[in-house]
Amino acid sequence: MAERSDVEILEDLLALENRLISAYEAALRRDAIDVALGETLRDHEQEHARALEQALRHAGRRSPRASVPTPELTAALRSRASFARYALELEAEALAAYTEAAAAIRNSRLRQPLGSIMACEAAHRIALREAVGERTLVD
């Protein structure tokens, strides 16, 4: 697979953040997540998105694409339990993307901040695991 440019890496991360924001906003509207938890997670993702947009502006790019709700999200909104499972998978996807990006991005000044978002996404997974009642929070 061809290596992605730094701009492509940032754009892909921003697309993921937009999916997360849409998911938490929809869950809050449909009461599919505890309000305090959902607002915290959504607010964090919004901060991540703002930071990525700023980095993209520095690179001379305008912010791309709005996200469209997927059928999986629509199905997940039926209950808090199903949304938690959906959000855990989406956060896992985000965690993997940031883990890869923090190592691969060529601009070394972006590696540490991307890593700090990576650690936040890892924390989101722990928060969601706690919310579904898991008693052992790390594997």
């Binding site: 915290t40 997670l41 607010d43 964090h44 993702e45 901060e47 991540h48 930071a51 990525l52 700023q54 980095a55 965690l95 940031y98 883990t99 890869e100 923090a102 190592a103 691969a104 070394s108 000044r109 972006l110 590696r111 540490q112 901040p113 991307l114 890593g115 700090s116 978002i117 990576m118 650690a119 936040c120 996404e121 890892a122 924390a123 989101h124 997974r125 722990i126 928060a127 706690e130 008693r135 052992t136 929070l137 790390v138 594997d139």
Partner: protein, 182 residues
């Protein structure tokens, strides 16, 4: 800056500073083996910290029970995996991984942990420092493979930090950026 430290902050911060001072991070890099700039010395520093943290968790476990004990045991098992992974990476670079110190040597530098809150505060501060160390390594390590390993371990440290915070009754995520910002 806040004018006062809580007892929890004071215990965690001071104790973690002691651990770091004793963990060998200031030891000179190996004088044979890997070429300068290979990243082996930095990995050695991370390994020394992992050794100290693994020993610290063994001490924490003495005062923990129930969910806190179950989770800290799981975290300690991950830390031992990190030790093995870092040792392998250093050997792959032609280096000789630094050995940990004895349990007694580490124990002399640890605070007296009288109750679960003391142990978890100590663990939280150690995890904060580990996350920071791995994120800093992302900037310094010269090779993509080494950075990938540091990122993967750093992600696990982020999860461990969050788990410890939950056990302390704190929000898992302390903010949108664990250290620094874009």
């Amino acid at each position: 800056m806040a004018p006062f430290l809580t007892r929890r902050e004071a215990l965690g911060g001071a104790a973690a500073a002691l651990v770091l001072a004793s963990c060998g991070g200031g030891d000179p890099p190996p004088d044979t083996g890997p070429r300068p700039g290979s990243g082996a010395a930095l990995l050695g520093s991370l390994l020394a910290l992992e050794h100290a943290v693994a020993a610290a968790y063994a001490t924490c476990e003495e005062v923990l029970t129930g969910d806190a004990l179950r989770n800290t045991r799981a975290i300690a098992a991950q830390e031992r995996e990190h030790v093995t992974r870092l040792q392998d990476l250093i050997r792959d670079l032609g280096g000789d991984p630094p050995a940990g110190r004895s349990a007694a040597e580490y124990a002399r530098t640890f605070p007296r942990l009288r109750e679960p809150g003391d142990a978890l505060a100590f663990a939280e501060d150690l995890e904060q420092r580990q996350v920071r160390a791995y994120l800093e390594a992302l900037t310094e390590l010269p090779d993509l493979g080494l950075r990938s390993a540091a990122a993967e371990i750093g992600a696990e440290e982020g999860a461990q930090l969050a788990a410890v915070r939950v056990l302390l009754g704190l929000p898992a995520a302390q903010g949108p950026f664990v250290t620094g910002a874009l």
